[in-house]
Symmetry: D2
Subunit: 363 residues, 4 copies
């Protein structure tokens, strides 16, 4: 990964600021012949779109994607397909309210990248966070939609498993439920608790953190590579690169510290085609950096939204003490919209791993 590009064979470069004219990405290295329309991508973008419930930002963005290159259709193709050339995707910004940011142009919002961008670049685009805004994640979701076209045998889905201090009851996990509430919550009872929790946070001018779990099933054994190309290392980098993420774990993750070797061993029994049937999945589907054939399971911790109404102490660009209270239209729990973004990053990492594996081994 390098600044604004990630991936090796399946490579994604994103660009755009929160309050610029548009944002987008270029997906390079995509195999030819995959069906791909703007509508295919739009489906996934709509799941991340702001303004869909009272629990996410009220910024009204259509998030309408256009495909500018890399696809082709004529009377001999079955619909529009990829050509193997770079796929350029663009999403115009339509609801910027840059004036909202006039009073923060000289103040560093705690938890935001205001101070660090200034420290690095000697200046910053303060309108809505500029490049550091989570709006950039729309481009990731768009790229992930292309990756999914390639991963025809893989299912990738995410769920929010904790908001604030309230975790779901894993015994009640039902993937279908994630479509029935505005939290991607797989446990209907917990979803109700979160409603109250989030309404309270908003009333308090406060925000809360979350944990998102993302899973990929259908990945064959053998994807990934040793050492610095490990599938879990690349997943960790990709997921940690999502705005506000402060932790990544694979499989049993941090809990493995408290396990014994006997408990942690994913025992195997004979399955079909000389493949093992694993009796557990503490490894989260990756051992030695290479997929085992089991579901790949990752969890990410997303910090509470830094933009809050409650005043916090800070300094201004001249180094003077100040207070700041962030107005504007913000997610009370930015973790919720992190679910579709985590799926997208998982998809991009897997697409790249698939192509690299095929490149090296021919399989």
């Amino acid at each position: 990964m390098s600044h604004n590009t990630f991936g090796h064979l399946f490579r994604v470069t994103t660009w755009g600021e929160s309050h610029g004219a548009a944002l987008g990405c270029v997906v390079d290295g995509c195999p030819p012949g995959l069906p791909l329309t703007a509508a295919d991508i739009q489906y996934w973008l709509n799941r991340r779109k702001p303004g869909t419930s009272r629990f996410v930002t009220q910024r009204r963005e259509a998030d309408e994607v256009k495909i500018l290159s890399g696809v082709f259709e004529d009377d001999r193709t079955e619909g529009q397909i990829t050509t193997g050339a770079p796929i350029s995707l663009i999403i115009e910004n339509t609801d910027q309210r840059s004036k909202d940011y006039d009073d923060i142009r000289d103040l560093y919002r705690p938890g935001h990248a205001d101070y660090t961008y200034d420290a690095k670049y000697g200046m910053r685009d303060y309108r809505g966070g500029g490049r550091s805004s989570a709006r950039e994640t729309a481009a990731r979701v768009a790229a992930g939609a292309v990756a999914r076209r390639l991963l025809t045998d893989v299912t990738i889905r995410a769920a929010v498993v904790q908001i604030g201090k309230v975790a779901i009851d894993r015994a009640k996990w039902n993937w279908d439920e994630t479509e029935n509430n505005p939290f991607w919550c797989p446990d209907a009872d917990t979803a109700k608790l979160w409603e109250a929790l989030l309404d309270d946070a908003r009333k308090d001018g406060n925000s809360v953190g979350a944990i998102v779990e993302v899973e990929a099933t259908g990945v064959p054994a053998g994807w990934g590579a040793p050492i610095y190309g490990k599938l879990d290392a690349e997943l960790a980098g990709a997921l940690m690169s999502i705005n506000a993420v402060k932790g990544v774990e694979i499989g049993a993750g941090f809990a493995t510290a408290g396990l014994t070797g006997v408990e942690n061993a994913d025992e195997m029994r004979a399955g079909a085609d000389r493949k093992p049937v694993f009796l557990s999945n503490a490894a989260g589907g990756v051992i030695g950096g290479i997929s085992t054939g089991q579901p790949i399971v990752a969890r990410i911790a997303i910090k509470p939204t830094s933009s809050i109404l409650t005043p916090r102490r800070t300094i201004d660009r001249d180094g003077q003490n100040a207070e700041i209270s962030t107005k504007g239209r913000h997610d009370p729990c930015v973790g919720i919209r992190g679910a579709p973004v985590a799926e997208a990053m998982m998809a991009c990492v897997l697409a790249d791993a698939m192509l690299r594996h095929r490149g090296q081994t021919g399989r």
Copy 2:
């Protein structure tokens, strides 16, 4: 990161198997003029070396490093210095006992990369885990020693903060203590508890996991880059690439999920030179992927050693059910020796970030 190379300007490529003739690395892109001798590197290697206490593997490896290229000394230089050319480091393996592995050549050890390497490559070097062995981490530590030469104002150190279910008392944290016990434990009282814990695990033919915390102080604000070159994303990838690591967190990490925005905000007060004094460090020294000037703090979860004497169920290469009990000389808690390795990876990531920041901004 790409297979066996990581870094962009400061680039490390490692090679070697557990039971081959040698292992090593090539460090490319290192600035010229840095003092560097084999003894400088040996100092750090000795901290990771096996056989130093009864709590780590009894394999006897001198882990003696030689510098084969990239340094120069004559009567005009102040000792031996780097030239800017690639630095090739080699460590010979001296205590391989490949026969120990004859009975596992056809069996897949649970938790080990045996099955996944076979699935990927259609074959594997089963002697001591081959390329997937933690012996590869010696090369990382050697590379990290070079990186430290560049990071003259940065102090990087790691501590083990949990073994099994027993965490340290952070109120008793004393960095000096980490040199007084065989666990890199910063809390003398907890170190004693771990002694018993590990002796029990070994007697039981079992093993335990651990959590390691690694910290870099002295990193100025501004290192790192947006989006896919985020300092924390690169750290996450680098740390997750260490053998047996299953989770990475930065700053407050997974705990941020349970915090509110008010709690999580690292408030600022006016400091010297228009720089902020932060009142807390939930961010772990990185915001928006760029360093804040505060200590950079990461924690990693390391699973229990997979090589245990207690028999576990598995299959063989022909897909038949079997049982396996791993003999040989293994760490009862591989997490302990993870501490110097985590330091090394932190050093390499920071050295690369420093050079890239200087490249883009001239600072």
Copy 3:
């Protein structure tokens, strides 16, 4: 370089087809604080623009560039400046006539990438050559304009030094003349000969090749890097990647084969600041892959335009024999418009070299 991206710290990714909606590029890694407006870029694009004389294609493209991201302006900046974030540039296609290509959709034009794209991807976008069209070079010129902003002490300029078999008289070289004729010819007398030559070629339904020389002055000694990061190796790759280029040489180039060591040695005399004054420049400003401080001089051979009216033998997609005569609006000598493109590639390579040198050495 990787598919559609090149550069390491200063990285350019281009996208777009000849007959798609638009084409463009993303310039990543650009230092912050550089003045940059669309007009700055447009100046260079206009020099490559089609339709400016009867000797280039009559396709009418405004080639109007828009900056979609990576710049910022407010009352504290001196005009619009770069932020350090990726700069997305877009140029809309306005004069596609895709119908012109209906009769070639099933035929492979000799010299064009029709057959090779089909062989690689199993399909192709045949409208105007799709991704393989020289229209892509507009994106390179746009990226080069950004690179020039960084290279404030460097002057990059190109001249056409041969068209067909008619070379310029180097004794008459006058850079100012390149602005006075439609060929970027530095020798006014030769320019007149080329007029006749090209008119003849067009009347004959034929085309001619050319040699372009590109030079950068003001590059300090020390840019570039050993072995695979050699400045001349990267220049060679970048220049050879331009459409229709079949040869690249540096300094005395292929003529060095016929020189002796005595003749080829660029002797040195004492200059200011312990720097040498070179008595010749057979090296073309690069020795050992690193700049010498002398002008960097490269020449490229550009094959004659493959789209010609004269019928040529070919096959169709079904493998049947056929004849083809390419209609449409084509450059009789595509080498002419190669001059601004060569300048752009030189600029991008040097910008990357400058940042990488600064990164590694701090100078």
Copy 4:
């Protein structure tokens, strides 16, 4: 390509100085299961080895290669095979005579990288040119030998086609002859002329340049990629990175400037399997950056050896005027030993292209 690494999936990193303990390379990304022994590599190294005739340097180096990692053999493999892990190759230097270089430590040899390394790094390893020595090319040849194991259907061979001003007669081209003279000359008559030419040059304390042609047959259509990943662009970069190379051309190369479009078109006739039979190969086997299925043909210009006995004017490190006459054991025509190196680079580029093509397209 990045400093001392090149390639994407098939990646080579080289290290070592002329007068250090050893030199070598790490070949990463090699597919598993390829037969590979030290003897396989030694065969190719021996063709580049110094001291084989009076027309090359008399330095006596066994150039004996050892494989330190990445291969495996047991009673189930058919001999020693690659594992997919990085292959570390080492060649010890045995005949350094560093004292030969004492009188040049303060002088910049014209044509050598002495001044540029100093300008870049502020110091240099002056013993035998250090990293800039052509001894580094042994590592390239070793890597190329690994690449050849992968390219089972491809034949790569090089010939010297010009020394000084004397070119071969292409009508007399006979590949077998290249094994019968010390010049890799495919024309027996010209080889005799070169003998006299080189003896004269050596007696005169002078040296001569050369042109090497390298050809790969058996490459299927479809390898390579558009724009910056063009096969010819990568070849150009790889070949220009060889010491002393000043020009690269593909197919008709610089001669295409003087051709018309009618002449330059490689016409096609119907062949087997819907593939074309080309009637000429001006393109040198690459169109649009992608292989056509025809032989891939490249030529490189190699400047005369810079180390000559005839005194040349120069300056010393203090910026004072001086004269230099280079003693030591040098090739009178370094181009001769360039032939096996050019083959190796062609092999590495093709191996990488093959894996990347397979990765993206599955073919």
